[in-house]
Amino acid sequence: MRGNQGILPPEPMTNDAVAERLVRAARRSKDMGRFQKQNLVYLELNGCSGNIISLLNGRNPDFAYMVNDMVNLRYSNSLMAAEGAQATEKLFEAMNEPFILAVEGAVSLRDEGMYNVIGMHNGSPLTGLEAARMLGEKADTILAVGACATHGGVSAARPNPSESVGLQSVLPDRELIKLPGCPVNPRWFLGTLAHIVLYGKPDTDSLGRPLMFYSTLIHDRCPRRPFFDRGIFAEKLGDPTCLFKLGCRGPVTRTDCPTKEWNSGVNWPIGANTPCIGCAQFGFPDAMEPFISYDTTRVVEDE
């Protein structure tokens, strides 16, 4: 019982249908006594910690349901009560049992990882690099959460002063579920986690992205697509028409943003009259720049 639960795109339902379906299924499974809370280790590495903030924005399921009913959150630098050596101890203890590993942030390689020290163990600095390798080798399932973890993201933007890389580079032999986004949309993370806890690993594309969230181009479901088809383009931010000529990356970015939007479905970047900057596409940010152009079809002489 896994994979196709009728939630592969195009989603037929309303805004929260998929999330609610997963919650209902989770509750049912738990009531039936076959729902085992799994351990989750949430590792923050070189990044902005924006993915865990985004996770706190989750709804149906929300963060409270996640920590109380879905998983035992064994380690989180942002949220755990323990600090210092005791916190690091909890990280090492968590490895004694089966666990799901979620990693946000990139892995800094510079000076043997010393540009991102995440704690102290036995009197020595514990680098993000060591932690990623150590936990990555033991984890049952690994989620790379957000652009920095999936491919380096902004932390690895040129000239990449901290020599940051995505998680896969230091765990070449492990299969990762990749959730690109800057930050990740909380539905993408919580929905994927729910799938793992309930039915095992979700179906992914060849790049490791869950199909239920990342299969369809933004451009194909954009509510402003009719303007594109009729050649009506915005000339500045704030215009209500197609943002293609301002540099919109909707035509190359695969997410469900147009149908599910952000922050409980209240809005999304194109809804704010700004171009998609491709934050959930591999290569972000360098391959998606410039974010804002005043007419991409204008002839530029020296570029």
Binding site: S49, A64, D111
Partner: protein
């Protein structure tokens, strides 16, 4: 009897910090705060399109990303000689208000509360000390509020996204103000959520903070530090509304005086950087990282105002605005954050009342052919934030960022002044060196965000203590 205590990681902050203190006869006699991460945004921004700075710099911080969109937009407007419409300022500042509310609520409930209250049984809340004094009934209520606050802080980000597209890392704040318009639906939607958020702050958050203070009164005497206070100004100097919160001001032993941005310098004597100068002005030098620099101990640089370390943040603002007079301590800082949340909610309500529906504040902006430079200074959730930028050939040729946590968590400088957070730890009695709960409580009262940060302990030269307040 001397003992060294290292806390690493200092959890429940944004980013990575190590604290290294020396305790003699049960009291802290030396302290170092160390930023433990580095990404190098200033280097990354070189050569990029100037407009991209607004979205790019938000990635410095996940909890206060809108702050960076504010400072970079202001810096670009300065460089491009663009004066935003007042309606644009109102809308942009409303987005900023949403971030203040989200940040302050999360900082108190998710980051601060577990220091004082043993929240319900969950592996996440297993603590290692036993200094929990709040009685059972109040503990149960505060635990409920921990989870209730998650809905409220999420609602704050929903408000932010209504105008900004998404949060964290919004798209709405831009040169000229914002990219969205106030419509009746937007104004009513924001007002409706704001009513809910205001009620929570008033009825739960502020009383909860005082409830904690009741059981931990010694924190009114701990964590004071220098007492030098600074703000770049917040929600200030509107053309018609005047100042709704606080003007740019500093407070030192010489008293209160207007803030003068020309007095800002940055020092890298004890920071892992190398540059042509050890002390420089924000727009003249961008040092390169050097993790192997032996005399350094942090990736955080040391900004100074007129040569002095300055505390920034909610308490500094409230004292400088005259809204709070109790004093400077760890507990005062935590109380100030809750009181400020209520004040910000009021300012947001005022700004919402000033909106003219369907005003388009955007234009097509052009970049100068030659060179230009600009700076954007504004107070944000944690204190004064500055972006300094230069343009050449329509690209960014220089970028400097000094964040509030750089002010509060700098290392020592070449004149012997400790950082503000380090100084706040001096003299702190540590009851049990194996459970040094006092250290984290004091440092968290500043709401640290180690967006550009550090590590490695060096036994430094003796630091001379200079009381300036």
């Amino acid at each position: 009897m001397s003992k060294r205590i290292v806390v690493n990681p200092l959890t429940r902050i944004s980013g990575f910090m190590e604290v290294d203190v020396k305790v003699e006869n049960g009291q802290v006699v030396d302290a170092q705060t160390k930023g433990n991460m580095f990404r190098g945004f200033e280097q990354m921004l070189m050569g990029r399109s100037p407009f991209d700075a607004v979205y790019f710099t938000q990635r410095i911080c996940g909890i206060c990303s809108a702050a960076h969109s504010m400072a970079s937009s202001l810096a670009l407007e300065d460089a491009l000689n663009i004066e935003p419409m007042e309606q644009g300022r109102y809308l942009r500042d409303i987005i900023h208000c949403c971030e203040f509310l989200q940040n302050h609520i999360r900082h108190f409930y998710q980051y601060t509360l577990p220091d004082f209250v043993k929240i319900e049984q969950n592996p996440l809340f297993q603590a290692d000390h036993t200094d929990f004094r709040v009685p059972a009934a109040a503990t149960a209520q505060l635990s409920r509020h921990y989870f209730e606050s998650l809905t409220i802080s999420r609602r704050c980000h929903e408000m932010l996204a209504i105008l900004g597209g998404k949060a964290p890392h919004n798209h709405g704040v831009f040169v000229g103000g914002v990219t969205t318009k106030a419509t009746a639906e937007v104004v009513a939607g924001l007002s409706s959520i704001l009513t809910e958020v205001t009620a929570f702050i008033e009825e739960k958050m502020v009383p909860d903070v005082y409830e904690i203070a009741r059981y931990y009164p010694e924190y009114y005497r701990l964590g004071g530090g220098y007492g030098n206070l600074m703000t770049y100004g917040a929600f200030d100097r509107y053309r018609e509304l005047g100042t709704l919160y606080v003007d740019p001001l500093v407070w030192t032993r010489d008293g209160k005086e207007p803030f003068d941005e020309r007095k800002i310098t940055e020092n890298i004597d004890r920071a892992w950087y190398r540059g042509a100068k050890n002390t420089y002005e924000p727009d003249e030098e961008m040092p390169e990282p050097d993790r192997k620099k032996a005399s350094a101990y942090s990736f955080v640089k040391a900004p100074r105002y007129d040569g002095l370390p300055m505390e920034v943040g909610p308490l500094a603002r409230l004292i400088l605005s005259g809204d709070y007079t109790n004093g400077v301590s760890a507990m005062d800082r935590t109380i100030a954050r809750a009181i400020e949340a209520l004040k910000i909610a009021g300012i947001m309500k005022t700004l919402l009342g000033e909106l003219i529906p369907d005003t388009d504040v955007q234009a097509e902006y052009t970049l100068p052919e030659t060179t230009a430079q600009g700076r954007g200074l504004t107070d944000t959730t944690r204190g004064g934030l500055g972006h300094w930028l230069k343009l050449k050939d329509r690209k960014l040729s220089f970028y400097q960022i000094i964040t509030p946590s750089t002010w509060d968590f700098s290392p020592a400088d070449d004149r012997g002044f400790r950082g503000v957070g380090e100084e706040a730890l001096m003299g702190t009695p540590v009851q049990n060196p194996d459970e040094p709960v006092e250290i984290g409580r004091i440092l968290r009262s500043f709401d640290p965000c180690m967006s550009c940060a550090t590590h490695v302990s060096v036994s430094g030269k003796p630091v001379k203590t200079i009381r300036v307040f």
